[in-house]
Symmetry: C2
Subunit: 479 residues, 2 copies
């Protein structure tokens, strides 16, 4: 994929392996884009041989993301062995790239001194990301061994609410007064030692550090040195409040195509910078959460979770589903006599409920996604409700005809046709109505529609489906 991946991803040959003239293994498997088996085996070899030099030669130049992938493949005891053998100058950023379960396990097993050393090299947003899921005592143990300045900065971020945008900010940034010239600003950057690792714009603040505006680096580079910053800055339009949620921050970034944005406190003072790479992570987590929620899986479930954790986590949703299924069965039980007299009803009834369930899921999926991306709001809610009901009606009629004919022929009973047909129309219209109104109502009441719509919609489609079909049949056939 990357044009020169083959040459560049393969690390240098281990300097000590002079008896081994073969080149080091390629990092990524061409086939499935995962870490190659040969590379993993080479790392295992250095761990077994306690060959620190060989290990550094292999993994020292890996990007944090590749390093994270490698950690996920290794066994837990190998991960610990790797951290210990490599020593404290290992890039702890890799820990931001692994599943939470793995991260916590590594942090808990490593000597605290090693963790503290590793944390000191990190940008503050990465350090917060790594620390935030630990228990309070564990956090405290690490924090108290950090220098006072770093501890205070970390603590400030950790004191923000769990999903606050401020937790994803770097606290190093370049801020200049508006009366500086472009030349002064460039000279300042050339001379400063304590600059952020990478940055895309500089910020303009007043003496009280209140945000006044920003200037992108390309603007600085194409402006003549004597020009004043105030003349070329953009007004402070899209600043993020530290206490805004990460989702709100992501919405601002995507809406205005930002690459970085200033973070301000309630008084408008600049406290940090959020960059788009963190926002991309937020967006991926959000999409992940929505997809999982709609599938009945908790958002925090990860591939590396234990069987026992996953079993309990999935049990909850299945239990809710059991209750709605029992409710539907109670409806069926109400028509036990009819079922006994006419077994065709028992054979056909799951079709009606299943069609309703699927049509309801279609509408619900569209509604939940549109609510999540803010495309569905008050301005168009009624229009979409109307549209979904018409779609439900049209497809209801279509499947009424198809299934009516099939049922009539299957059981050689022409009157079954209109019975199942009418039931399908009623069920598909109800499914459409439930699929759109339930997410809208949940959203209005501040409940996440992605998580909670499913069981309600299924209940509606099951109950309506069975009741409509068996009820109409009872009336029609007088049973």
């Amino acid at each position: 994929m990357a044009a020169e991946a083959d040459d560049t991803l393969a690390p240098e040959a281990p300097p000590l392996g002079l008896d081994e003239p073969t080149p080091p293994p390629v990092f990524r498997d061409e086939e499935d884009d995962g870490v190659s088996r040969a590379f993993v085996e080479a790392v295992r070899g250095t761990l077994e041989a306690q060959d620190a030099e060989g290990l550094r030669a292999l993994v020292g130049d890996l990007h944090e993301s590749d390093f994270g992938d490698l950690l996920e493949i290794l066994f837990q005891e190998e991960r610990i062995a790797l951290f210990v053998l490599y020593g404290p100058d290992l890039d702890f950023t890799a820990l931001t790239e692994v599943d939470e379960t793995i991260r916590l396990a590594i942090l808990r097993e490593l000597p605290t001194e090693l963790v503290v050393e590793g944390m000191r090299e990190l940008e503050i947003d990465d350090a917060v990301y790594i620390l935030e899921d630990l228990e309070d005592e564990e956090k405290f143990e690490i924090l108290q061994k950090l220098p006072a300045m770093e501890r205070a900065a970390l603590q400030r971020s950790l004191d923000l609410p769990e999903d606050a945008a401020g937790r994803r900010m770097q606290t190093q940034f370049i801020a200049v007064p508006p009366f500086w010239t472009v030349g002064q600003t460039i000279d300042f950057m050339r001379e400063s030692q304590d600059l952020p690792d990478t940055f895309y714009e500089i910020y303009v603040v007043d003496p009280a550090v209140r945000l006044k505006g920003s200037v992108s680096l390309d603007k600085i580079l194409r402006t003549q040195r004597p020009k004043r910053i105030a003349e070329i800055m953009n007004p402070a339009e899209h600043a993020i409040l530290a206490t805004d949620t990460q989702e709100e921050a992501a919405r601002v970034f995507t809406r205005y195509n930002l690459v970085s944005a200033a973070v301000v406190d309630a008084a408008g003072r600049m406290v940090g910078v959020i960059t788009v790479d963190d926002i991309v992570d937020v967006l991926e987590e959000e999409a992940d959460a929505d997809i999982k929620a709609l599938g009945g899986v908790k958002a925090d479930e990860e591939l590396s979770d234990s069987v026992w954790y996953i079993t309990r986590s999935r049990f909850t949703w299945l239990f809710v589903n059991l209750l709605t299924a029992i409710l539907a069965s109670l409806v069926i039980g109400f028509f036990a006599d009819a079922l006994e007299q006419m077994v065709a009803l028992a054979v056909l009834m799951p079709i009606v409920a299943s069609m309703g369930g699927n049509a309801g899921t279609q509408t619900m999926t569209v509604a939940v996604r549109a609510l999540g991306t803010r495309q569905l709001g008050r301005a168009n809610a009624m229009r979409i409700v109307r549209r979904e009901m018409i779609v439900g009606l049209l497809n209801g009629v279509a499947f009424a005809v198809v299934m009516g004919i099939i049922a009539a022929i299957w059981f050689d009973l022409p009157t079954l046709g209109p019975v199942i047909g009418l039931a399908l129309v009623i069920t598909l219209v109800s499914a459409a109505l439930g699929g759109i109104v339930i997410p809208l109502l949940l959203d209005r009441f501040g409940v996440d529609p992605a998580v909670s719509s499913g069981p309600f919609v299924t209940t509606v489609t099951d109950v309506v489906g069975f009741f409509a079909f068996l009820g109409i049949a009872s009336l029609w056939f007088g049973i």
Copy 2:
């Protein structure tokens, strides 16, 4: 959300509205974050009065994204009236921010001359995005009226495959030879007229324009002027091939936290730059497609689509579902005698199938998402299959106990307990197996598992659920 949104988003007062001293309406509704009714009405007022100055004062300074939101709220005839009244210097970038249906409708109704004028001001990636969904003749009509240079550049992008990364690239970029100094490079940027709108790094190429490396702007700004570019450049590691898919490009961006990346052709020559804002759109589209596919909705369905289009689009999926439902009913029909003799089976059987369906969906959701994000691959597939089956077994046993007791009490028939219990264990294990193996197999054969897994998994859970429950009951009760 944006700290000073209230002051900054409200546009200037219309200069001609001297008889109207009230301030212009705020753009966004605080409540639901959509376009405010007052703003829409103000725009409608200028359209009715044919007040071009008033319209420009209202919408002229809107960000393209806000402008797009406004267009989506207006009626189609109002959109056209707005474009015509505003004239050719309207920012056509707004068209990249509206649904495809709306974009096509606007392009088709506007005079071609106006579209051509608007297109000329666009960056090439935006122009391609706007043109690419038009029919070939429509594209041709617009392209042939563009100047030769722009037409050629557009045509090159449009000739790439539909989901090629190259379609999202800008073709303006700054490339310098490696022997230039930082000072030379800065002077070059200060003097050039034809620079990209915004950029985050410059590229280093050889005389044949083959990509050699890149330098971020902050690196340039903090380096002394006499230093050579070759000494500070990063090697060309994460270049994107123009023919890579957009999904592959997005994977590189997220993996290596990139903000921009060079695009090269098959010979390694640099042809453009992709920036992260386009990648964010790709990621959102991808998540959108996965969520919709899992819910049985086609990826291209948009809120603005017509009732008729949506009805047909949803019909297909529902029809596939009808076939699997009929298959399940055939299984039920096989046990018609048993159902006639024991109506409790008819009442309880949907519970077994429903639990299976939900458990299968849970596993399938996790599998599809993990395949999409490349977390699930050959290295861990067997481990995950094993894990899912154990989870299915454990929850199967749990619900066997719960539902066994309920069924025995409900129908006052203790032997019903083990029958439904055993059926639940079999169904939930099969659901887990189907939920993981089906997506893995589809992925192996190059079929998108998000789109196609659902019907297969449902078929497995329905057929196994009904067959296991009714089959075991027949054997047990000898009916």
